[in-house]
Structure formats: C-alpha cells, structure tokens
C-alpha cells in the first residue's frame, strides 16, 4: 500500500495523486519510490490507457521536501538514487501521461509536470523554477525537457531568473496545453483523460518513442525507426478498426492494441 500517493484505476485511466497535502505534496524518498512503482504498474497494466498525475489539496507538488535536506546530504546521490529511477520510469512510459496541475508546481514538482505529455492547468496553477533561489541547478530532468518545450532562450530565462509563471502565461509560453476554470476543473480533466484513453494507445506510445528518437538519432536512423514503428502500428487491431470505420463512415472503437 502506498502512503504518500493514491493510485486508482477508474475505467481505463490510472489516477496517480500525490498525497501529502499538508506538505504541499513535497517529495520524500518514500514518495519518489512510490511514484516510480505506480508508474511502472500503470505501464504494465494492459487495462490502463492513460495516466493522470495530480496533487491532493491546494498544491500540485512543491518539489523536494526541504525539511529533509541536511548539511551532509550528497545532492548528486539524491538525484541518482531517488529521482533518476522515477524520471526514467516516466520517460519510458509508452502511454499518454497528463499532468493535471491543480496548484503550485515548484522545483522538482515542476520538473515532474514538464516530463508529462500534456499539462492541464487549473486557474490556480503556477510553475516556480525555484532552484536558483537556493543556489542550485534545476534537476529531475528539468533542463532536458524545458528547452525542448519552449526553446533555449526562454528556458534560460526561467531557470536563471526563477520567476513564477502563472497559468495563462504558461500557456502563452507553450508550457501547457490549456487552462481550465476552477468550476469545471475535475470534469474537464476527467473528460480529457477519458478521451485519450479511448484513442489508439499503441500508436500514441509509438509517437512518444519516435519523438524521443528524433532528439537523439541521425535522420537516416530516424527514418528507419519510423519504418519500424509504422510496421508495428500497421499490425495493431486499432489500425484495422480505424480503416474499417473510415470506409463504413462510422466512428472507430479502439481497443488500445
């Protein structure tokens, strides 16, 4: 049983709720481990076709719990042993992952949101790249994702100036998919997640794989990977269903494989 998070599968959506509301869902060693485990579980569960990460209470995630930071702490080892496994599990999860950012996402909490595929923001959401204010560099994959999302210049502004980014501004920067009013927050997040869960899951996973590849591979190699992924997608029942529905002029019903 998890103590620092809630993990529930409803329909075909896995809801991962960071659940230390009194500490603004700040990361502890245990929480890193429980998030990692839940992400792997969601990846392995055939029934799960979309993952939502959100926070209990008023914050999304305040980043590392500073009450646990000591003089003797080796910050490098904290990242290697606690954060790297979590971020790798998220990076390699071949299903759509939505960050439902219900409130403040600060430090590594912001990194977690950046690593997701979609960021839905509540009106009260904000991003705080706060590392610089305590004399540290952004971590948990932060500067891997940020320039890829918004370009180097903006990434550097955020990382160095460390200014808080409000919800609307985040959308304008290209950091988020959209802002959702408080009145319809839960309903719209649910709808968005269920929409993703009804899509061809395997193809979405392959799109994520190709996007990863496009950042690392040469063009020739990328084209080979593309051919491989299209071969795999071409073998799915969702592909057959999509084509069939197109000719029968009806809406396709995808099974995720």
């Amino acid at each position: 049983m998890s103590e620092t998070i809630r993990y529930e599968v409803k329909g075909q959506v896995a809801w991962l709720t960071l659940n230390r509301p009194d500490q603004l869902n700040a990361f502890t060693e245990q929480m890193n481990a429980e998030v990692t485990k839940a992400l792997k579980q969601a990846g392995a569960d055939q029934n799960v076709r979309c993952v939502v990460i959100t926070g209990a209470g008023r914050a999304f995630c305040a980043g590392e719990d500073l009450s646990g930071v000591t003089e003797e702490m080796d910050h490098g080892d904290v990242l290697r042993t606690r954060y790297a496994p979590m971020m790798k599990a998220l990076h390699h999860l071949e299903k759509p992952v939505v960050a439902a950012v219900n409130g403040a996402a600060a430090g590594a909490g912001m990194s977690l949101a950046l690593a997701c595929d979609f960021r839905l923001l509540s009106e009260k959401a904000s991003f705080a790249p706060a590392f610089i204010h305590v004399g540290l560099v952004p971590d948990a994959g932060h500067l891997y994702y940020l320039p890829r999302l918004i370009g180097r210049a903006k990434a550097l502004e955020l990382a160095v100036l460390g200014e808080k980014v409000a919800a609307e501004e985040a959308v304008a920067l290209g950091l988020a998919t959209k802002v959702i009013p408080l009145s319809s927050w839960e309903e719209e997040v649910k709808q968005f997640a269920e929409r993703l869960a009804a899509m061809p899951t395997k193809a979405i996973g392959l799109i994520k794989r190709l996007l990863r590849e496009s950042q690392e591979a040469t063009f020739d190699r990328y084209l080979e990977r593309e051919a491989e992924c299209q071969r795999i997608a071409g073998l799915t029942s969702d592909h057959r269903e999509g084509v069939k529905a197109f000719f029968e002029k009806r809406k396709p019903i995808f099974q995720g494989n």
């Binding site: 794989r209 491989e228 992924c229 071969r231 795999i232 073998l235």
Partner: protein, 258 residues
C-alpha cells in the same frame, strides 16, 4: 516428444532457430542446457540446408547468466575434471553464420553466448553485463577475452570490474551490437536479416567468417596469407563461376553452396 529438454528448435526455410526455453529461470545456463545449445548448433552446422543459425531466448531474458546453485559448492579440482567450458570452445568451431537475437537480459554466460555469435541483433529493451564480479568471481566462458578483443582493454575493464549493465544502445555504440530494433519487431527483423544472409553464397560466408576470426588473432602478415588462401579456394566453387557469370550477364546469381 522433442529431443530437447531446455530448447525449442525449429527450421524456417534455410534458417535454423534455437530458442532458449526456460523462461521461469530467465534461461539460466545450466551445464546441461549449454550442452544442449551446443548440440543443437552443431546439428544445424552439419546440415547443408541450414545457411544461418539464430539463437534467441523465450520470455524476459535472453539468458541471465549461469546456474549459480549448480556451481556454488564447486572446487577447482572438480571444475578441472568437469571441463565444462570445452562445450563453449566448440561454439568457436561452428562455420555457419550465427546471429544472436537478444530479446532481454544477456548477463554473464548469457552475454558470453551472445558474444560467441557473429552478429548480435538486440531489442531496444535488451541489457548486457558481466555481474560475475559481484559474486566474487569472473567470466569463465570467454567473456574477458571476447569483450576485450571487441572494445579494447580499458573499456572492457570498466564493464568487467563494475558488473554494471549496458543498455542495447550503449552496446551498439561500443560496436558489440550490430543493430538495435524495436522489441516488437526483434524476431521479424532478425529473420529478415537472416533470410538475406541465407541468399548469399554460403561458401564465401564461411571462408569470410574464418578469415575475420583469424584477423582478430593473427598478426597482419599471417592474416593476409590466410586470407589469400581462402580467396584462392573460393575459385574452386561453382558459386564463384555462377556469381561472376551472372555479373557479366547482368542478371541475379543463384548460389548453391557448391
């Protein structure tokens, strides 16, 4: 009844496929299992209709190392009498091209088995490593020798001393893996490459393999002399006549291994 206890062996066209089939123990290589693998490889090697041999593993692992239980209480004298690695030596004598299709973990003996093949095609999810050091021992079936000849002593020591796992991508960058493919397509791509090899002139493939193996062990001059002899020898084959005639007549050659 199959003649194999630990393997699933089949032939697809001119390709012989040997699948390690003890997934519940991650295809741990017991001595008996190694003996079976070698016997299966040799029987394909003797079969003229088999032009390529593919080795792969069922389940999560290609082969996750030796059977530790089996050797935990061994002593040097018993090991000398057992002479278990003689089976491995026989793999080096196989003349048919061998491809390892590495589907998952290839650790210790599993890595050595993959390195005994001529090509390694790896699933993107495959991982390689020599964890023997973590048990207070070291590789014994050629790991220190084959890895060093492939990637050089400095880099080999890095992996052999730490016992760390190497991703498929790292293994490809180091020149250990021929190609990394999506996990879903590992066998399809491997069989496609094997099929292409199976259409090449088999005698040339065999003599090329032999010459390349000598290149690793011989000084350059002796290697070149050896290469020359094999070059001359191929002119005794019908495939050489067919290959050159087809080239001159601008048509596709049909090779028969004669």
């Amino acid at each position: 009844m199959s003649e194999w206890t630990f393997l699933a062996v089949r032939q697809e066209g001119a390709v012989g496929v040997i699948e390690l089939a003890r997934p519940d123990v991650l295809n741990a290589l017991s001595r008996q299992m190694v003996a079976e693998i070698v016997a299966a490889v040799e029987s394909f090697d003797r079969d003229e209709a088999v032009r390529v041999i593919v080795l792969t593993g069922r389940g999560r692992a290609f082969a996750a190392g030796a059977d530790i239980q089996e050797m935990a209480d061994d002593d040097p004298i018993r090991l000398e009498w057992l002479n278990q690695f003689a089976d491995w030596d026989r793999l080096s004598l196989v003349k048919t091209p061998m491809i390892a299709a590495v589907n998952g973990l290839a650790l210790g003996g599993g890595f050595e088995l993959a390195l005994s093949c001529d090509w390694i095609i790896a699933s993107a999810a495959a991982e390689f490593g020599f964890p023997e050091v973590n048990l207070g021992v070291m590789p014994g079936a050629g790991g220190t020798q084959r890895l060093t000849k492939l990637i050089g002593p400095k880099r080999a020591l890095e992996w052999l001393w730490t016992g760390a796992r190497m991703s498929a991508k790292e293994a490809e960058q180091l020149g250990i893996v021929t190609r990394v493919v999506s996990p879903e397509l590992l066998m399809e791509e491997t069989m496609r490459l094997a099929g292409r090899l199976a259409e090449q002139p088999p005698l040339a493939l065999r003599l090329i393999k032999e010459a390349v193996q000598k290149a690793v062990d011989y000084p350059l001059y002796e290697g070149m002399q050896f290469e020359r002899k094999n070059f001359y020898l191929l002119f005794a084959s019908e495939d050489q006549k067919e290959g050159m005639a087809a080239f001159l007549e601008k048509r596709k050659p049909r090779f028969q291994g004669k």
